[in-house]
Symmetry: C2
Subunit: 502 residues, 2 copies
Amino acid sequence: MIMTIKAARDRLKELQRKMAAYEHAMGVIYYDGATTAPKGTAENRSVSLSILSAEVYDLGTSKDTVDLLEFLDAFKDKLPKEEQRMVYLLLKDIRDMQKIPKDEYIAYEELVVRAEDTWHRAKEASDFELFRPYLEKIFEAKKRFAGYLAPEKDPYDYWLGEYEKGLTKKDCDTFFDKLRERLVPLIKKVSSMPQPDDGIRHGAFEDSAQEDLAYRLMRIIGLDLDHVGLSTTEHPFTTSLGSHLDERITTKYLKDDFAASMYSVIHEGGHALYDTGSKDEYAYTVLDGGVSMSIHESQSRFYENIIGRSRAFCRYIFPVLCEVFPEQMNGRNAEELYRAVNRVEPSLIRTEADEVTYSLHIMIRYELEKRVMAGELEVKDLPAEWNRLYKEYLGVDVPDDKRGVLQDTHWSGGMIGYFPSYALGSAYGAQFLAKMKESVDVDKCVETGDFGPVNAWNREHIWQHGSLYEPGELLQAVFEAPFDPAYYTDYLENKCKDVYGL
Amino acid sequence: MIMTIKAARDRLKELQRKMAAYEHAMGVIYYDGATTAPKGTAENRSVSLSILSAEVYDLGTSKDTVDLLEFLDAFKDKLPKEEQRMVYLLLKDIRDMQKIPKDEYIAYEELVVRAEDTWHRAKEASDFELFRPYLEKIFEAKKRFAGYLAPEKDPYDYWLGEYEKGLTKKDCDTFFDKLRERLVPLIKKVSSMPQPDDGIRHGAFEDSAQEDLAYRLMRIIGLDLDHVGLSTTEHPFTTSLGSHLDERITTKYLKDDFAASMYSVIHEGGHALYDTGSKDEYAYTVLDGGVSMSIHESQSRFYENIIGRSRAFCRYIFPVLCEVFPEQMNGRNAEELYRAVNRVEPSLIRTEADEVTYSLHIMIRYELEKRVMAGELEVKDLPAEWNRLYKEYLGVDVPDDKRGVLQDTHWSGGMIGYFPSYALGSAYGAQFLAKMKESVDVDKCVETGDFGPVNAWNREHIWQHGSLYEPGELLQAVFEAPFDPAYYTDYLENKCKDVYGL
């Protein structure tokens, strides 16, 4: 193959723009399906998505593409580090793709569209049996694909590592053991204390007022509304369409609890801050957007919890709530809000859980995934095991699958191995906070609604780099020390001391 | 080329599915842009759309595709008539595409995305100068493309014929002359009469109540909400995504006039009934959906006006309005509604015009397009000419470009030659009504809210055929006579007699 490096670099750019356009197309079809599309149209989307994913497969594995990337890889020393990383990431993806037979690749894309649609209906009807055949196929595909992609690895380790490079069951076990050791006694202690009143978050809140609050929150945390949109959906998520220049967050309004959507918006807003914080020149390249799910969740959960559930934020936001919900906030105050949103209480729903019990929800999902992937648990037995573990870990009785095993969308989208990212991300966030506080007066900024310095710190250390560095490299560079979950458990203990006066 | 007819027919199916997937992708990117996307994201969409349109160009003009279609064309006698028509339509599109240089084809796709975005902002600011450079480029491109596509034809005739096969300026002139002859004296006469009170449509109408009404209307006219969605937008439109199995209509709520969105929903609903009425086996083929814009507008304007502004419909819908707007409808009645929505009054905005003056709005646009395409009028002079013609034809003073030359989105999307479809479609609709009445008691059906027989007639004669027949063939088959605009002018005169007691 005869090509100049200059020409190859131009073609590298063009290839990534083309891939970004397909991602835009497939992303917006997904987004439309999750937010706006009429109920009976999943089949139609699945037809288009399977065709488009075949086009992506052909583009990625074509001789032209492989030759180009191998050529650039051979001359990588002559490339700027950004382009070295692009070639590395693209080659990894393409080599992975080549290992999966095209028909299975496409069948899987079709499967997840149908599975998500079915999950929606199964959740609505609280009917696991409806969803079961799809979930079985998804777990089977995940095991089979892991066998194609890394036959030398344990299948679940493989998928954990895809969401967070290098992560294994062993790491997760160690990490969760450390959390368990500190959190279980903490939860026990707190459970015996008088509970703060959380009446302030409950009442009757109109969708339109909640939407008003959502847009205010987006502005407050520093999102650029010219480039970040908001929609409603069953299970909130964030996505970039084409590039970080068009970012979408989603939420869901609960009539009787404004705090559910409030924290959902701040959580998804954290994802959106991270994505849209990529350097502009990374748009339409594989460096655009966050590097791993754990780092992504470190940002979403940092804004949601560390910032959003701080006393400083409650003080800043309370007057805003009074404007949006004047009747409901009448006679309330910021301290009540702070205590209400930090009430520790074992509960059924992960996304509505408090910070302290949250990781137990994750551990349950982790345990279950691990056992299904290892062949130690069958999909049909998931609901019973789910309920048993909720009783054991959290002491709660699961009344139905809707509020049990069907509550989360992740498995229906094939995201097996994703859940640990939430707990890891939360823990990274606590260690980020400690570093940030060395140079930023975080509480003062938040209490005055001045997110500038907080965002500038995150932008400098995390966001701007997009996917340029491996997650481990990035963490090392920011922490200037190894990752230590004690920052997180210390943070949670301090929060409980403050709220419960332990 | 060695291929069996069987194999070629399979590939024909596959080719059309692929094209439908790209149309789905590009359609949903457009739809998202017009309904949901944040304001600053047009550039991002234009990047993706230009890449995807290049992919479509390459797919359509590839040797494989051309060979396949020419092979099938050579053996067309051996194909069922549906596939003969598919081959004909695909070959026409592809031969057209081949005549336009690829770079100009792609640049044009980019241009219209940017132009629509700019039109939105220009309309908001009532600033024609902002939009002018884009509109100039669009008219230039349309003239240049017509030169590539049909150098033997007049450029405007070419584009008129693209929206309605065979249509020319001469036909339009004749048609509009006939309308003018009957409508101008009619409007003059009506203008001298006391006007019906239209207070019933004005007041303060919440978006949420208007949305409730919109969904009720969709159900009433017989749309299947599992396959037809509703969103809001600046300029209402209807689109299919991927196939007629996923149809979207859009509307816009005016706070002070519920009838604007009501008739917009029925209008777009008529388009959606036509599209979704295609035979299911036409999904993912070029036969799916309506055959021409005039026939499309015949359906939308049939439901909007002939049905929607009939006394029978007003009687049926009034109790529904009382449920949706109980305070505003208090003390009103169906006859007031009927008279209010049939008030004839020269006005500024086409989409809000009454049935009688409507065609004059179309004639103005037709005149202007015709003259710009012929080089007799410059784009920069459009606002002044627009205002002059509104004064001459309708006797109204245009206060600003927002309510003048910038009111419609069509030119920004490159739809030059489209406007006559509205008037032609309206006239077709009146002749359809005459035929329908031979076997259906339309008034009785509508007055009881039973759209079944009306829809069944349209389905049998029009909808199910999708694009199988040429517009002229279809009309001939349904009318069993030549098209005669007198049905339309008679219909309008009768309406005025009834409302104004002429």
